[in-house]
């Protein structure tokens, strides 16, 4: 199940400038990662990714690594998946917030994701990278703001591709649902996953903070129980 696009138009602004900027910056940094850093990735990630043990001991670049980690990706599919989700869910969330407040919310969601990851996997030396924590925050915000929203989604059943408009709640629940079991296993059995499930959950829970970033008109609509 791959979300492709939200077909509903923007209400408040013409163009999602910050969403597009974030996508461009992420792609550019991935290019730097691949072609400039190359194979010597370990020192680079130690400096610029989130490593719980380093965070707890206040070593490394702390807050800076927390931000830089949101722009690092482990592979092309990791980058493309995240950027597609950012485009699908971010556009209308940015529309409801305004560009700069959307950036603040995006960074806040990413930071919340890293904080929960650092608390749960406190002794991990594995660096956490990726925009997915922040993007899960954006997905959660989308669900809060547009509960009735529908997303054009690519579904491949056997060999037949379908692209129905599925309710966002089912897509978000699907993506959250697949985090729960691995997250519990990490918590109880210290299972080792290459995906940062707790960061995803941390980002998702931070979606409640979206109410502090909504533009007044969107907030009034939200409070009136009307689609934002």
């Amino acid at each position: 199940m791959i979300p492709l696009n939200d077909t509903e138009p923007n209400r408040y602004s013409f163009f999602p400038i910050m969403t597009v900027t974030l996508i461009v910056v992420n792609c550019f940094i991935y290019y730097v990662e691949i072609f400039v850093v190359g194979a010597d990735y370990w020192p680079f990630f130690m400096k610029y990714a989130v490593t719980p043990r380093l965070i707890w001991s206040a070593q490394g670049s702390g807050a800076l690594s927390n931000v830089t980690a949101m722009f690092l990706h482990g592979g092309l599919s990791h980058l493309l998946g995240n950027m597609l989700a950012l485009w699908v869910f971010g556009r209308r969330v940015e529309d409801a917030c305004g560009s700069w407040r959307f950036l603040a919310f995006y960074l806040l969601a990413g930071t919340s994701a890293h904080i929960l990851f650092t608390i749960v996997q406190y002794d991990s030396i594995i660096p956490g990278i990726g925009a997915s924590g922040a993007i899960f925050g954006v997905m959660g915000a989308y669900l809060l703001l547009y509960p009735g929203g529908r997303i054009r989604t690519l579904v491949i059943l056997t060999f037949v591709p379908l692209w129905p408009r599925i309710r966002a709640i089912w897509i978000v629940l699907y993506f959250i649902g697949i985090q729960i079991v691995p997250a519990i296993q990490i918590l109880l059995r210290k299972a080792d996953y290459s995906v940062n499930h707790w960061a995803h959950l941390g980002g998702f829970f931070s979606a409640v903070f979206i109410l502090l970033f909504l533009r007044p008109e969107a907030y009034a609509r939200y409070m009136s129980d009307i689609a934002v």
Binding site: G62, A63, N66, L108, I115, F209, F213, P216, R221
Partner: protein, 342 residues
Amino acid sequence: MSLSAELQRALEAARAGRRLEARELLLKVVEENPKNEIAWIWLSGLVDSLEDQIIACENALTINPANEKVRAYLLMLQKKQEEALKRRELNEARELLQKAKSCADGGDSVSALRLAQQATQKQADFEDAWLLIADLESHVDQRVAALEKAIAVNPSNTNTRLLLEQARQLRDDPLSLAAHYEQIGKFDEALKVYNEAAARTKDSREFDRIYKHIIRIEELQDEKIQFVAPRSSILRLSFGWPLLYLFLVLVQVGLNPFTHHALLLWLCLPLVFVGSFLLSLSEIRSKHVLWQKLFSEEGDGSSFARLVTATAGWMLVIFPHLLLFIDSISRLRNFRIPPEPF
């Protein structure tokens, strides 16, 4: 019977309280001898109407202009006549205003306006009539003129002063007034002002801009959107950036503020809050006390005031974040990279 004897009889009748008889006799005396001063003086006290009294006095004074007592009496009578005239006009004006109000209540604002204007013609300093005209007048210039007349009659009426201020704002900057009505949740008033502004503008771009506002407010009304006061929006939006900064500082100090001190970073938190508050203030139109305190402005912040506030806000938000990242970079210089576990 001689004339003086007739006058004598008239005076006796007047003294005895037989006013009609005395008046008849005196009229006969002045008919036969119009230059009889005494007869005119007595007659002025016996005729019924104020106008006849004045005529009798004037005749007496024509005969003897040196009679100061009669002159003083005439002045008193003339004053009395003026007061009576004013009283009559005031009563007529009140009646007209009453009719105007009835017409206005019945929805006939054209007749109501005409009657109220007639009332002000009868009584130029009739405050209520001017206020009714201001209320009924569709042209903003005439509304301002009516309110100026009302405030000239009663300068201590604060409500009229407020109405005049709003009418002047409507005349000089209608969009700002409409925005103000929107801020305080008076969508009907805002819509009225926008409609008036749209009717008055001759610029098609300006019309499009106003039309968009009208559509937006009509949508708000159709959707029955709950009103959120600008002050609560400013407060709500003030918390976003400080929360991000708080989380970043927590990450910087190892999620435990008690083991790794960073006093300067914590002290910057209120700065971020103030910056965030200024940013929100610059964005949301509101008659805030800060516009008055910082820029001596009565309204909801001029473009200049907003620009200055937004710039100050951004500086206060960015500066602590810069400090935080400088601290991160300085830590990175002393950082010894741990060996790869794999």
